[in-house]
Subunit: 361 residues, 2 copies
Amino acid sequence: MKQPNRCGKIVINDVAKTAQCSTATVSRVLSNSDYPVSDELRQRILDAVQKLGYSPNPYGRILRTNINPSIGIIITSFQNPFFSPIVMGIEHIASKRGYTPMVFASQRDPSLERKYIRDMMNKRISCLMLCSVDDHSDVVEQYIAKGGHACVFESNFPPLGSALNASADMFKAAQIATEYLISQGHQQIAFLTPPLSRSSRHQRVDGCRFAMAMHGLEFGADDVISVPYENDVDEGLYEYNIGMVLAKKMLLHSKQYTAVIALNDLIACGIIAGLVQSGVRVPEDISVVGFDDIPIAMMVTPQLTTVRLSGYLVGQRATQMIIDAYESNESGNQVTLSVAPVLVARNSVANLKDVRQSIRI
Amino acid sequence: MKQPNRCGKIVINDVAKTAQCSTATVSRVLSNSDYPVSDELRQRILDAVQKLGYSPNPYGRILRTNINPSIGIIITSFQNPFFSPIVMGIEHIASKRGYTPMVFASQRDPSLERKYIRDMMNKRISCLMLCSVDDHSDVVEQYIAKGGHACVFESNFPPLGSALNASADMFKAAQIATEYLISQGHQQIAFLTPPLSRSSRHQRVDGCRFAMAMHGLEFGADDVISVPYENDVDEGLYEYNIGMVLAKKMLLHSKQYTAVIALNDLIACGIIAGLVQSGVRVPEDISVVGFDDIPIAMMVTPQLTTVRLSGYLVGQRATQMIIDAYESNESGNQVTLSVAPVLVARNSVANLKDVRQSIRI
DNA sequence: ATGAAAGCGCTAACAC
DNA sequence: GTGTTAGCGCTTTCAT
């Protein structure tokens, strides 16, 4: 690598000399503890800091205090627009409260995810915000067992007993989507999704089933259409591609659907593309709705009707809660944070009732 | 904040005791210096490390050596898909070579950008990869003056004399786009862009002008259509919105264009949306081409013809070069890295020649 | 080939 | 109110 390079760095001792006092006092002023320091001396120190352009070496501090005011964030990929608002929400609150956000992308590689978590334990981060792709929660649990505070946004493993589990209310979201479709006269509805490996996905299917049942509509295991694989590599578009595959598969189904619900917007966009490719019109022939409300949703044709999950809010609230817990030294009990979803009606859903009426007339 | 919390952490001394040797030897083995240690002892140490589950406290090391093998990355926003491949390229190489990537988003706020840079200087990062929104380069220059290595991908200030300036070859890219349009029979071409505040934008206009001139086509200052403002906040979609505004403005122009070149894909998508909103068909009435080849480009209707700038490659190569320079202690001379762009022809450009021919017949 | 010991820059007892 | 000083965990001379 390289040799050390102490290029004339100003250290706390320089400030002390300039201000004619001890390093202890400088430290007291700069770490703005409420320790009493005379106004006159405090000012002298501040002046010296200013004059020398001093800024403390964070590593000295961390080594001494063993606390690192920073928040580790693990997402799967920078390409996936689903995570952007969550990260932004986290960063916003983190900076505001004096924590440095550190973002890493696991590339959907569980071993890389584990490596990053261990790395963060080493780095003594204050809180860990995790979008996991691992099937096992052992490393996170280890982190928590050692006194770490964690928040899990997504995972294949069941909610942890000692972490903050944050997400939008997926059940409710699916219910909203389904009820909207029903209100538009749809009765044959399919749910298109990658493998139901994680609970956040199950919840959506459940919400859909619940809404269908409430309206006396049929919705069986058959109506959940899924592909049996999940790409291991996240090149950003992989969900889009899954959507295209799902669309073709759905078209082969014996049942004729008037509407489909996609696990998320990226998949929904892929479904629309797949449908159009097969000569099916959206929404005239089949309606499509997604979840998330990523920016792309309003850019595609037709503009996608979706249920906004407010990742930004989820990120913000989760960060508030986790920092609060950390600072008040609460050990993590199972907490669930769930944000209310809202329907964003655009142009990918046809109103079957209007059509019927116009036919009747 | 919180009180220190030395929760039974294993430290180097524990390993030394277990292996019955001094901390010096443990350090020598673990920092795999080529210092000679007997195989027998080395093994004992490795066993102890394994047994105790020891991993070194990075802060002790950094404090002592004053070197932090990590790469700081500043982008404007996680929302902007343009940066994703660059960051991924950087991360790929960085991890491979043993450096920890640290990503921060400036939110297009110059003062936040400066804060992050100063923060990284404090953290003694090894290299800085910067997508700047600042008008002044003083902080970066300061960083470089103190011996730091920097790579600038985007900036409003002119290329730095002592940094690696990395980007795709913008001039060439614009030339390719323009020549493609010309090859399709277009002669009235406009260039739509936010303010030409940065050289990467100028280069594109220049490339366009050059290609037009080469084919004896007219292209004046008039044909560069621009909006006089630039949003200060990057909510991810702001370039899309700029595109919509640019489209309307272009429609008001006295000249009738058959094709427009957008500064980038996101703007191009906005332009298409604006055009469609105004009842103009793309590509039948007006053709559109962009730059970057972001994932969205293939998702919109019509699919966007664009010039791929290979951010992933740029990120990778830049990281290689900057780490090489850092490790070999070269001080940063002006270096320019420029990656060859490639045309991606999709459906947003009409072939005017075919049309003429079919009319002739 | 191995160990002893001196710090890196900072904070927090503890003294005054 | 202010100063002295002992480390935090690590690396690296300098001895041996």
